[in-house]
Symmetry: C2
Subunit: 286 residues, 2 copies
């Protein structure tokens, strides 16, 4: 399916005011929405969180690709003009397939985060923290070394950071101790830049910064990808010409317990209404 074949817009002006789509395997991508809304305040944003099928990290590549295609098709029903894949697993696995199928700008997390890390680093000694799945795939290491093969990259999985962020234990003593345990190896290795390779981690950035040390620059892939999508839309003359503050809409495949509380922590503001959708039914009906 080719997006422009199916839904070719008649006026460029219409497309300009179309929303930017963002999907994630769950709730973490809301930290990316927060960055995106800050970088592009006049853009409308449609978020889809695949909360019924989270996590993607433990699933096979073909499943992650299939789910990513479904998520993108859903967002295209909402006439998005560009897509942010706000999930590190889907970014590292599905983007080539998404780009083959869909004819809109598609931005992931890995490439923008890697580029920004290399730009900010003085010593090219870069740390990357993420889930066990992301770190196991060495997605950031491969991307960073592709861009600069003299860079030294050390990756470290921090599995407890996701549940700590979801618990909202942002300054809890236990969080400091866990961060100390996870990060001491990176600190001792003398990195000068640390990529937060999981969309949950910006929630814990204060603790992470304190433990890793003030001299280390933290890279938020949500910030990096927001800047990339801004320049892409600029190039294509597709930035919104609206002077109004953009509207955000939220769709999820399930609403688990405590969802609203966690979502608002991640987003940094209140959510009025979240729509629950059955993706497989929706897609198959078209």
């Amino acid at each position: 399916m080719n997006h422009t074949d199916k839904q070719k817009p008649i006026h460029q002006g219409e497309v300009k005011r179309s929303p930017i789509g963002v999907f994630d395997s769950g709730i973490g991508g809301l930290t990316v929405v927060k960055r995106l809304a800050s970088t592009l305040p006049n853009e409308n944003i449609i978020y889809f969180g695949d909360t019924a099928r989270v996590p993607y990290g433990s699933k096979s590549n073909s499943t992650v690709i299939e789910y990513s295609i479904q998520n993108t098709k859903f967002l295209l029903l909402k006439n998005i003009k560009a897509l942010v894949v706000a999930c590190n697993t889907a970014s590292s696995i599905a983007i080539p397939d998404l780009k083959k199928i869909f004819d809109i700008p598609i931005i992931g997390m890995i490439e923008p985060g890697s580029k920004m890390a290399l730009k900010k680093s003085q010593t090219n000694k870069i740390g990357v923290i993420g889930t066990r799945a992301t770190v196991g795939n060495l997605a950031y290491s491969k991307e960073i070394k592709k861009l600069n093969d003299s860079a030294k990259v050390i990756e470290k999985p921090c599995p407890l950071f996701v549940p700590l962020a979801e618990e909202g234990w942002i300054k809890h003593q236990a969080t400091y101790e866990i961060a100390e345990e996870y990060l001491k190896e990176l600190r001792d290795a003398g990195i000068d830049t640390l990529v937060l390779g999981c969309t949950h981690y910006p929630i814990l950035s204060e603790v992470i910064q304190k433990v890793i040390g003030r001299k280390v620059t933290l890279i938020d892939s949500g910030v990096a990808s927001s800047e990339v999508i801004k320049s892409e839309l600029e190039k294509l003359d597709l930035l919104s010409d609206s002077k109004q503050t953009g509207i955000q809409e939220y769709y999820v495949s399930d609403i688990p317990a405590k969802f609203k509380e966690v979502a608002e922590l991640f987003l940094g503001k209140e959510i009025d209404h979240v729509h629950k959708v059955d993706l497989e039914v929706l897609i198959s009906e078209r």
Copy 2:
């Protein structure tokens, strides 16, 4: 489908040496296998962990029932004589449907754990800890109150205990602090019995016992269900007549990173070989 219609055994002796099947949404059920092997050392055990589709707690009731039926069908292909549903979510949702469809003894976690809690408690002030999904459903509270409506039950979700157990942080300082935060409310409420309402939690029982206090009796639903299945098989004259130590076989729908390490921690011994199976393909082929 009726199991006895499809696979009626010719000799009772054959059935006696058939394995007991155990399924869980993932890896936590291995703590139940450990208890079962200790209670019934001559029984063979077949374990299925649905690691590709974990967690069940965030999925709809109909999905949990469908997966539980698939898991049971798979175990029946291995000629199990009885089934232990070693997953609190599936136990609370799917057991009535499983009992309607399959004609073998089926034991969950909730009923045995609740009965044992009431038996051990002097004051009928009982605490229950579990995942957010289990606690949200009040599965143990409902069962305990059904058995004794004067019992007072306090439930508390402890979401960080699962990742802490999987990290193997059994005696880590952070684990004590997190347990203190979660359990102080139950301790202050003066419970005398605490149900570990998640199959991961026995891994952390030492910390939990220290924090909740030595006077509180911990209930391991894996121990409780092992005793129930033993007496059920005794009644039906289906206990193994073998004098050999039973054999255990492990099947999973996916093998995530660090699987072997975590599985061995949960099981308390080495795993030689774990078989990966594609459940949907297997079931649909029959």
